[in-house]
Symmetry: C2
Subunit: 335 residues, 2 copies
Amino acid sequence: MVEKKISITDVARKAGVSITTVSRVLNKVPTVNKEIVQRVEGAISDMKFKPNPTAQRLAKGIQNTAVGFVIPGYPGIFHSFYAVELMRGIGHGCETLRLDLIFHITDGSNPLRSNFAGGLIFADIIENLPQVQTAVAEGMPCLVINHIVKDLQVSYIAVDNVKGSFMAAEYLVNLGHKRIATVTGNMQTQAGIDRFEGFQKALKQHNIDCPTEYVHKGDYSRRSARQAAERFFSLENPPTAIFAASDDMAMEIVSVSMENGIKVPEDISIIGFDDNPAGLFGPVGLTTIKQPLFTMGEEAVRVVYEIMTGKQKGLVHKVLAPDLIVRESCAQPSS
Amino acid sequence: MVEKKISITDVARKAGVSITTVSRVLNKVPTVNKEIVQRVEGAISDMKFKPNPTAQRLAKGIQNTAVGFVIPGYPGIFHSFYAVELMRGIGHGCETLRLDLIFHITDGSNPLRSNFAGGLIFADIIENLPQVQTAVAEGMPCLVINHIVKDLQVSYIAVDNVKGSFMAAEYLVNLGHKRIATVTGNMQTQAGIDRFEGFQKALKQHNIDCPTEYVHKGDYSRRSARQAAERFFSLENPPTAIFAASDDMAMEIVSVSMENGIKVPEDISIIGFDDNPAGLFGPVGLTTIKQPLFTMGEEAVRVVYEIMTGKQKGLVHKVLAPDLIVRESCAQPSS
DNA sequence: CTGAAAGCGCTAACAA
DNA sequence: TTGTTAGCGCTTTCAG
């Protein structure tokens, strides 16, 4: 490694041709004499020559072929399934568009030196609004995922969390439940807030009361779900159904239920949010709300790319619809 | 966005100075007249000029300041905690070294076009050995994480999985267990194989028999753990202790146990592998083997960087030691 | 303190 | 089919 950077000129000299020719074989221009191609390729591998991508880009006039993916340090947003699915989508999108994906794990304080990213995708914004602002102000193509941004001129693509949780709660209501509790997600998160809002909206619309002891502020963690479940079950008048703002939490509640001999869904209905495949394999299949995470990631790349390349001039605002996935963890109330 | 790429020349013209001077203020060279600095800076922000990083790099002769992180498409390796911790470490390492982190999610078939990565970190190798080979052959600085590579001249940094599972099994043995079962990880994975090996080694060394019905080949998923647990519990002579090759699986086994009224650790001891913080919050704190994932990621970046910069000439082989974390999920056998 | 000019390593017309 | 000659946008001597 670290050979005294041999360049195209060296190769040309060694092969006894011009650098142009070397460049041609590098770029697989077909009009080069077979024999010369071989000679050049020989020289290239002999000298272990690797073209300098920086120079190539400059010469080709390529502006930027990388998008940055910015994720906040390590709050709840990075809870496994959500982030992983998103990343898969983004990764796939980049692969398709032949874009490099640059990863920025940040605590929100640094100014986010984006070395050669031509666009930025923010995985939600929690504490890093300033970063988004700066980037936007600098004219950097930006897109925020899963956060409907109102006070900033920036594109976003999000899932309709209000609608999703509304669907979840309404499903419970339609099943006949009257005593419905919820564990919320992290209320620092817009998703957390919105999912709670949709939940409330559904209950209100169906004239169902939601006392405060039926609401537990969680943070997407199994730990908080466990606390919630324990509290709910110890209530004088426990709920017959629980909406958890994430599948992870829902699964934990299923666990707590079974540990306490409470049958799912006979004694209690539980519905989650995410469509985490793990929900398929618990003791009961988890009924849940599916959000198109992969698609969202893929779309995000596409949109940013269009902004980068100027095909898209204005702001893009997309809100994707979630789906209700019915499995076995919900039933009509027995009582 | 997408203004017709204004360049340093435009700024120079507008500010009525030479491009050299503009370059100077860009690079904060102190010997520039205050007044001129202001004028230039004015022009810069007026025109929303952003220097082309590609050109800067070329001119400065900077080779590569990015490392690529390659992760296989989507096998078990990407099970949440493992990958997330690793990535945190790598992200942190890059931040420290002011390196960009380029993300490659690959299915192992593509030739891995590494646009401007100066080094590559492979998150294990499962189906992408050819990619590693190619990269190594091309003289690209490479490092493989968590896979002790024998048949290839490549650096690696790994955790001693054999030792870890040996510790786990021995701990169980020392507690007095004789009937010890295990759910393995994905046996396509070296970690899966090694953890099984360590387990067997410990039992053998202590002259404890391990019948085949005590071994369930899992894949790190909760699903497979559930299957395993159900099978173990239905055995005529069920085990008194179980070693799971991941905390996720261990936690699922705890769940299955409790669902069946089997008390942990009174009736059954369960030990995991990972030190996933989620293990802290279940019904019982999970005893487990901690692997220094974050450290490993950080180290990986450091090592690759040293190879990239030529400070490190030879191959680097590091094997990190795991730790036993004792919590509450294991006890002496009651029977 | 400022500007002219020579590259960085490579690509892309344009000739030959 | 191959080579000559300009640049790409910026940094960096080296004069002035």
